[in-house]
């Protein structure tokens, strides 16, 4: 309010700058401004503009009417007019009523003028009221007047009704009541009061504030008036009003420059309760907060604890794990160490074995059975050593450190050796082990460079598996060589590295790189080497492997449970095999068999450098051209490709060197009787591939028919001229251009009739166990009789049955093979044919297998070394020492020994033997000690003689063996008497003596 008056004054002073103004000026200029202000300012009751000279103009509100009061003279007796005002524009209208009021206290005006800025005065309301009330109705409230100087002589004053202030305060008080507070207010002079506090009255007298207590009727009690110090203290005093404790607070307040006092009373208990209420609330809040903090803390702690616990647990387990890992590592290391140590030991003992075997060679005659056994033993030890190495190399393979050893070797011989090695084992199980040469390409490219040991290991492993798991049927080993296919050549060629890296991961990175270096060096320097892909198949008719296990069997330590049950093994084999095969740039797989076929077929290929002799190079080249041409023109049976011509047979093997000077003779015929179907077919195919006419029989009866037919044919053909035979041959081998040329050449020479005259060579190959031997012999000899063709019989005998084969029944010219009919034996037989180097002369000679030659030699040796060969001798002695010496001595002489430890036992043996072996004597000689427990030698001799009498013409020579010369021996019926110790020469002498006596009798 104060500010508004000063603001007005400033405004007016700016608009009225004249020093002296007339009433007209005021009316024209000031009045509208005043009206505007009057309209705008809220709560404004009155506004006036007063000039010192007596001029004034003011508006005021009387009820809802706005009136203007003005005086237009500056004389001392000022006249005032009241005029109604237009509510809208403030223009006075109507007749102004002259109103003369005697005195207007102008002192406040002058006072106001004297203040520089603002001056507020609470005018004498009563007088004013009286003054105004005359004009207006009574009951007009006092006004707060606020004046401000406009110019030096003029003042503007604003009047606000007192009620607006008190109303405001009351409204405030009402608000306060709600919060159990009450307030009283009074101006300093006590003119205006608001009595807010119940049952009290605020009285201000002599600058002291009194709070008068009132009774129920509002009359002052007169007692308990309290003076309240008004010093704006923070803490009020307490007062009891009508038995209620109040807190009283008093402070001064300035409203529009009028000093006033207000007193605030607060009911104490209310306050307290309020206080307590809030305290309680605060406390609960605090407690809740503390509680929550506590909970948070606890949960935090518990979580922390749990975490810590978990961490501890984890650490513990980590420690445990670490310990376990360390232990495992330690164990592994120990194992490796033990392995290494064992390796060393095993190697040492193996070395010992080999050395011993070597030493033993010195004591053995060449080609004796012992010698061959020793050789086998040596081979075995070497294999064992190799195997040991390879097993120990398993880890090496995995680490990619294994190295292939490059050496030159003959792959066909290797194959044959391996197959021969496993053949006895297989045949013991009743399984035939067959080496199928396929197209013969393996023989042609037999000279190779590679790791012989590893290849052997792979084959041995597969074969031993096959033998292990096959109980019936046959096992076939097929081998062929071919030019590396695109896939393989990729591997073998320059880009091999990538192809290989993928397949082998990084197993043999080192090796590959070294290989590559080698390979490149090879390609630059060496023509004789070319890379060939060798494909091997080991096909058995065993239990087979479930299809879903095809992949996993190649993993280490994996065995097919159902089939490996009770067979043993570590399951390492195939893993090693796979690693090795891959190392040799090949791969291994189990090829699928047709439905209904039993068994498993392992197929693997390796890439080896083939070494072809330069002498053969030309022929092979020619041969290859021939092959190419044939492929283009007629594409005959693929199996015949490489062997259909003579030159290719030449290159098959040095053993097949054809006598090129000789003319082409009548084609040979081969008749075979082989029981096993696969072997028969494979052999047949191979021979046919070589251009040989083959007739195969399965059973004895078949053989008979085949021979019959053959005989008729032969007789027929021999009666015909050579021309037909030539054409026959032509048709038989018309696949080959070169052979055709050769035939043409030979016919031009005019020498064909020489071949024709000798007719076709006939080779009969018969398995001895295909039927009763005698019958076989009869059939064969019948066939041979009356046949002018040269004929050769080859008997295939299984070694086990060899002893049963009585040589007398066979033609001495016949050949006996005691080993499986494949590989070198097969070639040996084929070589008998004239086309392949067998001459007529040769056919006349007796062919004897090497082993039989050996046995013959042995026989011869026996004449000097083993005079007692085959003789059965019974040694009777009580001391083991003596028996042992006698045994040894006699075995050395070739005798078969039986022994017993006293006379009684000897008598029993002789008695039983006689029953069994009669009419042959059970023993050829009896060597009898004299002094023995239970029954001595003399007694025993007598009893034996007694038994012999029952069988008539039998008398086993009994040689007495004593420590002393004893004459009793002859009396007892002994034939000779030897003094201990037994001596070889003396013994032989005794026998000779006895034999002489026998003869003389």
């Amino acid at each position: 309010m104060e500010s508004s008056s000063t603001n007005f004054s400033r405004f007016f002073s700016s608009s009225l700058n004249a020093s002296s103004v007339s009433f007209m000026d005021i009316k024209a200029k000031v009045a509208p401004l005043l009206f505007q202000a009057f309209e705008r300012v809220p709560h404004l009751e009155q506004i006036s503009y007063i000039v010192m000279e007596g001029l004034s103009f003011s508006y005021y509100r009387d009820h809802l009417q706005i009136l203007a009061i003005f005086s237009n003279s500056s004389s001392s007796s000022t006249l005032y007019y009241i005029q109604h005002v237009n509510q809208d524009n403030g223009e006075p209208y109507g007749e102004p009523t002259k109103y003369n009021f005697s005195s207007i206290n102008t002192s406040w005006i002058s006072e106001a003028l004297q203040f520089s800025y603002s001056y507020a005065l609470f005018s004498n309301a009563s007088s004013l009221r009286t003054n105004w009330s005359i004009i207006v109705d009574s009951g007009h409230n006092p006004l707060f007047l606020n004046s401000a100087r406009v110019t030096r002589t003029s003042v503007i004053s604003l009047g606000f009704s007192e009620t607006t202030v008190t109303d405001f305060l009351r409204a405030q008080n009402n608000d306060l009541h709600q919060s159990s507070m009450s307030m009283s207010w009074a101006t300093k002079d006590g003119r205006a009061t608001v009595q807010g506090i119940r049952n009290t009255r605020l009285v201000i007298s002599n600058d002291t504030v009194l709070l008068q207590l009132l009774d129920q009727n509002g009359n002052p009690k007169g007692v308990g008036d309290t003076a309240i110090p008004c010093n704006n203290e923070r803490f009020g005093s307490s007062l009891n009003i009508q038995n209620t404790e109040y807190l009283i607070h008093c402070s001064t307040i300035d409203i529009m420059g009028i000093e006033s006092v207000y007193v605030v009373a607060i009911r104490k208990n209310e306050l307290l309760s309020f206080d307590q209420h809030y305290k309680k609330k605060g406390l609960t809040l605090l407690i809740v907060m503390i509680f929550m903090i506590l909970i948070a803390l606890l949960s935090f702690l518990s979580m922390n604890g749990r975490n810590a616990k978990r961490e501890i647990r984890l650490r513990a387990s980590l420690l445990k794990q670490m310990e376990a890992t360390q232990q495992a590592e330690r164990k592994n290391m120990n194992k490796s160490l033990a392995f290494a140590a064992a390796n060393h030991d095993v190697r040492a003992s193996l070395a010992g074995l080999t050395a011993l075997v070597d030493m033993s060679f010195d004591f053995v005659q060449n080609a004796s059975e012992l010698d061959t056994n020793l050789k086998l033993m040596k081979g075995c030890t070497q294999d064992l050593l190799g195997l040991l190495n390879s097993i120990l190399d398993t880890s090496k393979i995995e680490a990619g450190k294994i190295q292939l050893e490059e050496e030159e070797f003959d792959v066909s011989i290797l194959l044959e050796d391996i197959v021969d090695l496993y053949h006895p084992m297989a045949s013991k199980k009743g399984v035939d082990l067959i080496l199928d040469p396929c197209d013969g390409s393996i023989i042609r490219y037999s000279r190779v460079k590679g790791d012989r040991g590893r290849l052997k290991q792979v084959l041995c492993n597969l074969l031993s598996n096959a033998v292990k798991f096959t109980d019936e049927g046959h096992i076939v080993v097929r081998a062929r060589a071919q030019k590396p296919s695109l896939h393989n050549s990729l591997m073998a060629g320059n880009s091999e590295k990538h192809g290989f890296m993928g397949r082998l991961s990084c197993l043999c990175f080192k090796k590959i790189s070294s290989d590559e270096v080698e390979g490149t060096s090879n390609s630059t320097q060496a023509d004789p080497y070319c890379v060939m892909d060798f494909i091997f198949e080991v096909d058995d008719t065993g239990k087979g492997i479930p299809k879903e296990k095809y992949k996993s069997v190649f993993e280490n330590y994996v065995q097919v449970k159902e089939t490996s049950l009770g067979v043993g093994g570590t399951g390492l084999g195939l893993g090693i095999v796979q690693s090795l095969v891959r190392l040799m740039h090949g791969d291994i797989e189990i090829s699928e068999k047709d439905v209904g076929e039993k068994g498993t077929c392992f197929k693997f290929n390796v890439i080896l450098n083939v070494y072809e002799r330069i002498t053969n190079a030309a022929s092979t080249k020619e041969e290859e051209e021939g092959v190419d041409e044939r492929n283009q023109t007629q594409a005959p049976l693929p199996t015949l490709q490489s062997c259909s011509s003579g030159s290719s047979i030449c290159s098959l093997s040095p053993r097949f060197r054809i006598r090129s000077s000789s003319p082409k003779p009548e084609p040979s015929r081969v008749i075979m009787l082989i029981a096993d179907e696969y072997r028969r077919k494979a052999t047949e195919k191979f021979m046919e591939g070589l251009g040989i006419k083959v007739a195969a029989a399965k059973r004895l009866e078949d053989l008979f028919d085949v021979l019959k037919k053959m005989k008729q044919k032969c007789l027929y053909s021999s009666s015909h001229s050579s021309g037909s035979q030539g054409s026959e041959y032509l048709s038989a081998s018309s696949h080959s251009r070169s052979s055709r040329v050769r035939v043409a050449l030979s016919s031009m020479d005019g020498k064909t009739d020489i071949g024709a005259a000798s007719n076709g060579f006939i080779l009969i190959v018969v398995e001895t166990d295909a039927g009763p031997l005698l019958e076989l012999c009869k059939i064969v000899s019948n066939f041979k009789r009356g046949l002018c063709n040269p004929c050769q019989v080859v008997w295939l005998d299984k070694k086990i049955l060899f002893k049963n084969l009585d040589k007398d029944t066979l033609d001495p010219k016949d050949m006996v093979l005691s080993k499986p009919f494949h590989g070198s034996r097969l070639f040996q037989v084929i070589k008998l044919l004239p086309e392949f180097g067998g001459s007529k002369l040769n056919t006349q000679e007796s062919f004897v297998d090497q082993s039989s030659v050996g046995s013959k030699e042995i026989q011869e040796c026996e004449d000097t070394e083993k005079p007692l060969s085959g003789k059965r001798i019974l040694v009777v002695d009580d001391t083991p020492l003596m028996r042992m010496i006698a045994l040894r001595s006699l075995i050395k002489l070739g005798a078969i020994i039986e022994q017993c430890e006293n006379g009684e036992a000897a008598v029993h043996l002789v008695g039983d033997g006689l029953i069994k072996d009669f009419p042959n004597p059970p023993y050829d000689y009896i060597l009898m000690d004299c002094q023995m427990p239970v029954m001595d030698g003399f007694e025993a001799t007598r009893k034996i003689r007694k038994i012999e009498k029952r069988y008539g013409n039998i008398r086993i020579p009994i040689i007495a063996l004593t420590a002393d010369s004893d004459k009793m021996t002859i009396d007892a019926g002994m034939d000779f008497h030897l003094v201990k110790p037994i001596d070889r020469n003396k013994f032989l002498e005794a026998i000779r003596d006895i034999n002489a006596k026998k003869r003389s009798i």
Partner: protein, 151 residues
């Protein structure tokens, strides 16, 4: 030690044993009987001989300790021992056995006891010598050499 040196030593030792009459030709015969089919023949035989000797010597001692002495039984043992020793070629043992039998026939107890002592002595000597011989052989074999045959 060198193999050759060992072999020489073996030969010398064996020759000495033959010379001193510990062994006779029969032992060489036995060695000839040994071949690859029975590589340990000699050792086995000698081992048996050792076992027999110990058993028989023990039996003889017991028989001679009996009162009265059964000379027939003693003689039987000696006879057996003679046969055994003759078989392995232990010449000196055999000779002692022959003397022993004479004493048995004459029933000379004193002579018998003396002979028994002599036998024991001879036996232990022979045993030591033979064991040394076999040890040499073993060493040669371990060194990779072959055992020289005695002509």
């Amino acid at each position: 030690m060198d193999v050759l040196q060992l072999q020489r030593k073996l030969r010398e030792h064996q020759a000495a044993m033959l010379r001193e009459g510990f062994l006779d030709d029969q032992f060489s015969q036995l060695q000839k009987l040994q071949d690859e089919s029975s590589p340990d023949f000699v050792i086995e035989v000698v081992k048996m001989f050792f076992d027999d000797s110990e058993k028989l010597l023990h039996n003889m001692t017991r028989a001679l300790g009996q009162v009265p002495v059964d000379f027939k039984q003693v003689d039987a043992h000696v006879h057996q021992y003679k046969g055994s020793s003759a078989s392995v070629g232990a010449a000196r043992v055999k000779n002692v056995c022959a003397t022993f039998r004479n004493f048995c026939e004459t029933q000379n107890l004193e002579g018998c006891v003396r002979c028994l002592q002599q036998l024991q002595q001879e036996y232990s000597l022979l045993k030591n010598n033979l064991q040394y011989l076999f040890r040499l052989q073993e060493e040669i074999q371990a060194a990779g050499g072959s055992i020289p045959t005695i002509e």
